[in-house]
Symmetry: D2
Subunit: 416 residues, 4 copies
């Protein structure tokens, strides 16, 4: 009898290697699937290891380009920041990974998908909600949430199943990263009063160690898409990675966040997002120049909802599609160049220009070139203030009437 | 016959000195009223000058304390940032000034109030809407908007009326400041592609000139009010001014913003808000630790509306009262200390603690102390993903049915 | 050894009577607690029955007044309508019941609370979230969700434990009601294409059977609280019940809603809310007259959030407190009288007046009494339209430039 | 020398006929342009009259179809209701009219456009903002706002310029209508306490006069577009007009609204919107069945903003485009049939079905067919309530600690 096939999101690490054995022992043919979203993985080595530790099939996918174009870009254009702080690093890669896992499952006729998330994080929700939004019929396995092992028990199981156990001491941290950033939790970071130690960071230098000379670059945008740095055109994934390296070297992008998880707890996270920090600032700066006021003032409402939706694992929801349609529509005019100074942890947008700039010097100036109709202001103010002026008049009169009634009552009472 | 009295918002500068003459010539007894909101004015000298240039009465008011307590504090607690960038420096002082002007007008039986705003800025709206919200019956004069003079004509009028004309060359900039920050526009700043030159700044050093050693401070909050720095209790206005100096010396708080004015144009502004930048970051950081999730996620909607309302001159509107009530209610638990590192333009909240901290290490930890019920997660995910899973099932089936209908039609068509 | 005490939300029906036996068998001393929120229960009979079927203690509470004042009123003032249709009947009574259950538990030193909700509705969430928000240490039992019995098994258990079983055939419907309305689901209602049959309704006549003559009443409000009908002052609970009867007799308040439950499914519900329908319409009508525009335009955002929060069982959340503070603050001016015509299912607010009315005939009129400054309009329009006018100019020019560039390229190309 | 051409929005009535003369006398060649948006105008007669009273050119346009498809439909799909009451009748036709006027202006090389709005309504803003958003260079004339005439003066001017003056007494009302409804203001309606008299209505019968037998119809929707009534396919404009007549005959669609005008005053308006009332209810009902929860809960935020934007004359703003993109995206699944009972002023959606229905009887049922996983609920509740439970625990502990500190201080004090 042929076995059921399962696709496992495989990282090459101990947990998911043990998961291969565990799923095999449960009766599955395991398709190990490793997806590179910009961590700089050695895909060939991981492919090999997947086979070695018992996968029926080992598949690797370089998804950096798709990740940048389809997932990072909408988030950038929506200035997606969960709780105004976190640029949604892991939350963005999950739906990309899910998309690839489902595609592999369909290619090989697999009936189940497995991931290696713990039972207290957001990622389990993102994986499972994502998978079922694309493939509602798919069975899901989560070995790590299921096996309830201590570290020691896991290592014993690994040995029993011929899974190589790394001899280096495990990092105190739990890390996830991709080209949009790096997330770090656990260990000393679990004390929100403690400053994150130096070894918690990897993609950014400390400000102390950043160069004493700034780097100034010009970032070009076409319809809301960053397309070039200093005039050099680059595919989005490459542009991000190049900028990430540069900004990280100036100590840019460190974020220290006590955040509300979807599963109901607060957790303290250290993020490093050098490229994201720069691009989010530059894109906003260009929108400040090119977006019409009413749109600029409503877009943050849409942005906040999109941030929550992404964080909460609902990338493939119909609401997300509508939110993206809103944002997309707004990007046509976001063309131009932002000059950004990277220096000692700071992203300084010091100049911006655009063929679609709504800044009109002749309207804004206080010089004699002024074309603004100052007479119009008096009319504007009269109607603008009218509701509150009437309100003030009415409440004043209402108060006086009430006082009069009280006084009159007093008089009547006296007369009795 | 007794003359009508008018209260003029008096700064001691040329414009409002000329305005005294202009209003006098129009038939008013002018009460010059100078209000200090933290610019460090020499109030006595201004009082004297007011009288000298012809005011019927010259009044000065130190309003720093009221400004901090009644206007800056609600804005801080609401993280008020117009267009996510500008902490509402001038927009906050206008209602305070209006409040004082109206009080003076009532004290002296004045029937009119005058301000010296131009006809293309937001401040004229803030003054007039504010005055009429407090005193709907009050007449308003705006000499500068009315007189339509060139610089030369103004100087001639000054000379004709014995108003001393400063001999120093006029600054190219138009500046407004108070203890919450400094706003600068005009001159070279009217070119949004040009970087703001060094002389555009006054309260912050350039990052290049900031010390190479960070300063780390602990800011204490009680019910959302910053009450102490490094344990030293200070009245809010003093705390802000002390912190402003300190943060400014580290190059913190420079903001470069192309913003949408209420009067319909975009303008480019350079702000310096050292204390505001630090306090807004620290207060948000403490809220991240102490606010419950649903409140934390809705508060930004309220914050954005409040920012707009303040910017647009509607401080004294009934909506403002309701927004403040919302924010107030949320502050009871915002107690604790945030440890902030000030360094090279960066505000780094590196630790925070609170008796009301909702961060629970035993729930968040990945160690054996874990008290989180990981079993609950599977149930949670099932119901969380249910709407989108059903959605996926239904659309899949609907598509299949539609396809079948098309196919069947094909068959029928063939059969014909 | 003394037993643990548990407070059970007791209705007097079969399910909760069996629950008494079940909890007793589990080792608890059961305190049966029946709370009247306006269903017109015979509290004494239920108290007696509670004891009869084995409760250690039987407690009854008439909570109609508290329910109206503390729970219905804030919802009315916030125009709370879940998904713009459902006035939150059951969702409002749950936190009141929870409050009473916790108070009884504390009075008797009980360590647990039990409710009788099924495992697929919203009420289980409302009970449990509510209890833990007031008493996080409290143990919770939900017998019905736990025992997994068929109807037959439940009846057998009842017989085995001497619980009287009603001989009348069970209703096909599942009903919950209180003074704010009546909710009905199940049976034929589970088919959303089927019209609700006559027997699904209880508090409203069919429009066909409603009188051919309207009833016109005047409802008075003081600071947003309905205080009198036709001048007769009534406590809020009595006013609601009186109005409910009257409006129901005119066929008012039937609602047919396919709604999204918190637990992830859609369900079809039939509500009858005669009084709620009238009061919500009248209160909104009076707010239209008395609320200033900006407040009137933001309040719905707050209202919608509050509706969701209440529906989702988070009455005792800190967000709810802030939302209520916002609404409260807005009610001071909601004074006056609304004249309402009740007729054939229609609630027609045909006249309204208020000492705080912001409607100013002399501003609104088109007669010669007009005091509105029509000149001001031209200035207003100029600034109002300015952002979009500049936008149009810029895009027109940008397009032309782009076209020109394309043409020039063409020329250059030709020249090559 | 050739004269400047101006396009005038021409209705055939006295005001705009006089305007032709006035504009001619001002030196323009006047192109009278009459646009039918469903008032049932005699276009040929108006065209003739335009020429008669002196237009250089007289143009008529039947725009009913365009109006329905391009303007009414997006508003319907967005459930656009200003202040939750007014379906934006006039506000919707203005941008359509503007679009046609600009097209005619471009066709004939006109440099100006004239409208006949008064200086205190919203329509002047909608015309002028709309014109400049499409044609920022266009000059605008508003004769009625400019000429400041009394009725008598206007009639004299008409006589002097050979404009025929109607002999019937002028209506006390000011009316605007199109296929989406009818708006009425002025006269007795200016007293918000007075009920609107019978003669204020035209398209609806009084409920008293509505038939005693209901009409039940089935309305079909395809991707959010109403396409058929009782299976009969109709173009949208015809469907609306047919339904309008039918619903009006049942007394449906009367609205009595004290609303906030953009120009800062409150005004009392009587609307009749029979078709709009029915279609808005039916479309919402079908969305309740087919929209996923998160989308259904955010869409009202978008809807409210769109309603304001339309009301405020910003149809052609970039924000509007983004809002429409959001709504559009959501309509793909809004397919199906709603069965609606029209009776005595009531619109009763009593049944609805859809191939995209998300209502799943097997999930919702309380019968044995139940497929809902009730076990999952306990896990869901645990995580759902967790933030508020932790909040309760923390505040309880914080309070206790504070109390203890106070007590200890007491002890210490005593000890001194």
């Amino acid at each position: 009898m042929t076995k059921e096939k399962i696709v496992l999101a495989y990282s090459g690490g101990l947990d998911t290697s043990v998961a291969i054995a565990w799923l095999k022992n449960k009766g599955y043919d395991v398709i190990a699937c490793c997806i590179d979203v910009g961590e700089g993985k050695d895909l060939e080595a991981i492919k090999e290891k997947g086979k070695q530790v018992g996968a029926w099939k080992s598949v690797v996918i370089d998804a950096k380009h798709d990740f940048a174009e389809q997932f990072v870009l909408p988030a950038l254009q929506a200035h997606a920041m969960y709780e105004q702080k976190y640029p949604l690093v892991s939350a963005l890669s999950r739906p990309l990974i899910v998309q690839k896992l489902v595609a592999v499952a369909r290619e090989y006729g697999a009936t189940a998908i497995a991931h290696g998330c713990t039972g207290k994080g957001n990622d389990q929700v993102r994986f499972e909600a994502g998978i079922h939004a694309l493939a509602p019929e798919m069975k899901i396995e989560d070995p790590i949430r299921d096996w309830h092992w201590s570290r020691e028990e896991e290592i014993q199981y690994a040995k029993d199943n011929n899974i190589p156990v790394p001899i280096t001491k495990a990092s105190p941290y739990s890390i996830d990263e991709n080209l949009w950033g790096r997330a770090n939790e656990c260990g000393i970071l679990e004390d929100p009063w403690a400053a994150a130690p130096a070894d918690a960071y990897d993609r950014t230098v400390a400000i102390e160690d950043a160069p004493d000379t700034p780097t100034t670059i010009e970032i070009s945008f076409e319809e809301g898409v960053p397309t070039a740095i200093d005039g050099e055109k680059l595919p989005l994934d490459e542009l991000i990675m190049k900028l990430d390296h540069l900004a990280g070297s100036h100590g840019i992008g460190r974020i220290d966040h006590v955040e509300n998880r979807l599963v109901g707890i607060k957790s303290r996270e250290i993020y490093e997002c050098p490229a994201a920090t720069v691009l989010l600032a530059a894109h906003k700066d260009l929108e400040d120049l090119t977006l019409e006021r009413e749109l600029a003032h409503f877009k943050p409402i849409v942005e906040q909802k999109m941030s929550e939706i992404i964080y909460n694992g609902l990338w493939y929801s119909p609401l997300m599609k509508s939110l993206v349609a809103f944002i997309d529509q707004a990007q046509a005019v976001v063309n131009g160049v932002v000059r950004v100074k990277l220096f000692k942890g700071n992203v300084i947008c010091e100049g911006r220009k655009s063929p679609n700039s709504l800044y009109d010097k002749n309207l804004a100036t206080y010089t004699s070139a002024d074309e603004f109709d100052q007479e119009a202001a008096t009319g504007f103010i009269k109607l603008w203030e009218l509701p509150d002026k009437v309100y003030a008049q009415v409440q004043k009169k209402a108060l006086a009437t009430k006082q009069e009634q009280i006084n009159n009552k007093g008089v009547t009472a006296d007369a009795d």
